[in-house]
């Protein structure tokens, strides 16, 4: 019963070949569909304009080198992207007109109204995926969502002087989601968010003076109980300190902007070229698989045909099918070598870009840390002065909790 089992094998292989061939004709839509970002058509009242803080993204780099290699993660490139992507998102949000100030924040900075925390899941020239968690300063969660998209190849075609992000549609989707989430809040809630951020900032610096203005419910949500009186000297000084806090964050953002503009061109080139290599690798892999499967089908088919051939012509045709199949099979193996070459090119491109970007990351990180470090000294001084002012104005000791 050798014949039927060979035929069954031939049928299975033919089905696999058919599947492989159909995979070849599946194409992603590139350029990707454009997502139009919504823009404010009327001016939003000042007291409802929320400031947005976008934390530097979590680069999500596996500790295991093998895992990094498997996922094709280049740590320094990821670190750079963790700074680059928030700036792209910031610029997108700023363009909508729905928000107050939008700033990129180093980790562990507070005092904004809305916070966006992102984690990079996957980033190649082909595909970008990140998780976002959006909350506001009261502790309300707006949404958590995974964003995933394919590169828009138009961004790779002309390499314009001002590079356009190939994943622009993804950022536009985030911007629209944020606007939709904001729309679900009432005017009173928007105003309250701003009040809470003012008070949380004040309470952080001078808890003895402002701690009582806030309350936290069982779910950890903050609300404002009351506001400082007009002309309160401690509140006025606090406002001046807060302006410096914004100024510090502004300066940090100038560094991040500068980092992005330096990184943008080589980064776009890297993404473009690695995109091409990844596509070529994928195509070569598909072709290799198809050739090998078709080759195997021809060999098996030739053997089956040969075993039942009654004439010398049929026998010759069967032999030709076997030889042709074997050739196609070998050709598939050769194509595997091409897959390897593209994989190697992707690796080399990544390592090369990593070497280029690494000093830039170190530079921007060093500068921002230095800036934060020197600002911390000033903050310590302002804390001290606020305390002194409070004690002078109230005649009470600056202690946390109700004074007796």
């Amino acid at each position: 019963m050798k014949g039927p089992s060979i035929r069954r094998a031939a049928v299975v292989l033919a089905m696999a070949a058919s599947a492989a061939l159909s995979a070849c004709v599946v194409q992603d839509q590139r350029p990707t569909e454009r997502v139009v970002v919504e823009k404010a058509t009327t001016e939003i009242p000042q007291e409802q304009l929320l400031d947005v803080g976008i934390m530097l993204f979590d680069p999500n780099i596996p500790d295991d080198p093998e895992e990094r290699e498997k996922q094709r993660i280049f740590p320094d490139v990821r670190e750079a992207e963790a700074r680059y992507m928030p700036v792209v998102l910031r610029d997108t949000l700023e363009g909508t007109g729905y928000w107050g100030q939008v700033r990129v924040l180093p980790r562990n900075v507070t005092s904004m109204d809305v916070y966006i925390r992102g984690t990079i899941i996957k980033s190649t020239g082909e595909e970008l995926e990140f998780d976002l968690d959006v909350t506001d300063v009261t502790g309300r969660r707006w949404f958590s969502k995974t964003y995933k998209g394919k590169a828009d190849t138009r961004a790779y075609k002309d390499i314009p002087s001002r590079p356009i992000d190939p994943f622009e549609a993804l950022y536009h989707t985030v911007a629209n989601d944020l606007i939709a989430a904001r729309r679900e809040l009432s005017s009173a809630e928007l105003v309250q968010i701003r009040q809470v951020s003012d008070m949380r900032f004040a309470a952080d610096l001078a808890p003895y003076a402002f701690g009582e203005y806030l309350q936290q419910d069982r779910d950890g949500r903050y609300s404002v109980v009351r506001l400082p009186a007009d002309g309160d000297p401690v509140a006025q000084s606090m406002q001046r300190v807060r302006e410096r806090d914004y100024s510090l964050i502004d300066t940090l953002n100038e560094h991040y902007s500068s980092f992005n503009s330096t990184m943008s061109e080589p980064y776009t080139n890297w993404r473009k070229y690695s995109y091409e290599e990844l596509e070529a690798e994928s195509e070569a892999r598909r072709q290799a698989m198809t050739k090998q499967i078709l080759g195997a089908v021809a060999v098996v088919g030739g053997i089956v045909a040969g075993s039942g051939a009654s004439s010398s012509a049929a026998s010759a045709a069967a032999t030709a099918a076997v030889i042709g199949g074997a050739y196609a099979f070998k050709s598939g193996f050769d194509q595997r070598a091409e897959v390897k070459m593209h994989s190697e090119t992707v690796r080399q491109l990544g390592e090369s870009f990593q070497m280029e970007i690494q000093p830039m990351v170190v530079d921007v990180e060093g500068r921002t840390l230095q800036l934060k470090g020197s600002a911390e000294e000033q903050y310590a001084e302002w804390r001290r002065l606020l305390k002194e002012l409070y004690e002078h104005e109230t005649g009470l000791p600056a202690t946390v909790g109700p004074a007796t």
Partner: protein, 172 residues
């Protein structure tokens, strides 16, 4: 401050305010200098070249003409924004203003990518005649050129040169 005698309540308050002013002035000056340094760096980077490209059609409402001139208006937005933040004292609603600083041109010729040049050790005879001198190579092109020049397998070398040509054509 008046000399001798205990400080009055007003004197003490004025003293604290003066110290606040002092520290604010130091801080503002520090931020101003930092801003200035970043602006200068960005201007020097974008000032060295011009760039232009096709860009996208403007169907999402965001202007993208895909062209820019190095050095033009670089980081001016950032500076203006910062000044706004410094000057905003005493305004109850002023939460500071950050200049968007996004009008900088990333400048086709900038980027600090250059340098290096072809790796040593290979004579010009290894470079096909249609290959340009590589003076305007970016990082990717440079890597390809170096890999091709170092490659001893003629077939692979030709494929690398082919990749180089393709890349250069795409980025022209």
């Amino acid at each position: 401050m008046p000399g001798g005698g205990p400080l009055t309540r007003e004197d003490r308050r004025a003293q604290i305010d003066a110290r606040f002013d002092e520290t604010f002035a130091v801080f503002d000056e520090r931020m101003r200098k930092e801003q200035e340094a970043v602006s200068k760096e960005r201007a020097s980077r974008s000032g060295s070249g011009t760039g232009s490209g096709g860009g996208f059609e403007d169907d999402d409402g965001i202007s993208r003409d895909g062209s820019g001139t190095g050095g033009e208006a670089s980081s001016a937005g950032g500076e203006g924004g910062m000044n706004g933040a410094y000057d905003g004292e005493g305004e109850g609603n002023d939460r500071g203003t950050r200049g968007d600083g996004q009008e900088e041109s990333s400048g086709g010729g900038g980027g600090g990518v250059g340098g290096g040049g072809p790796a040593g050790g290979s004579g010009p005879s290894d470079v096909p005649s249609d290959i340009p001198d590589g003076s305007d190579d970016d990082i990717v092109a440079r890597q390809l050129r170096e890999a091709a020049m170092k490659e001893t397998d003629p077939e692979l070398r030709e494929r690398l040169w082919a990749e180089y040509r393709k890349y250069k054509k795409a980025t022209q």
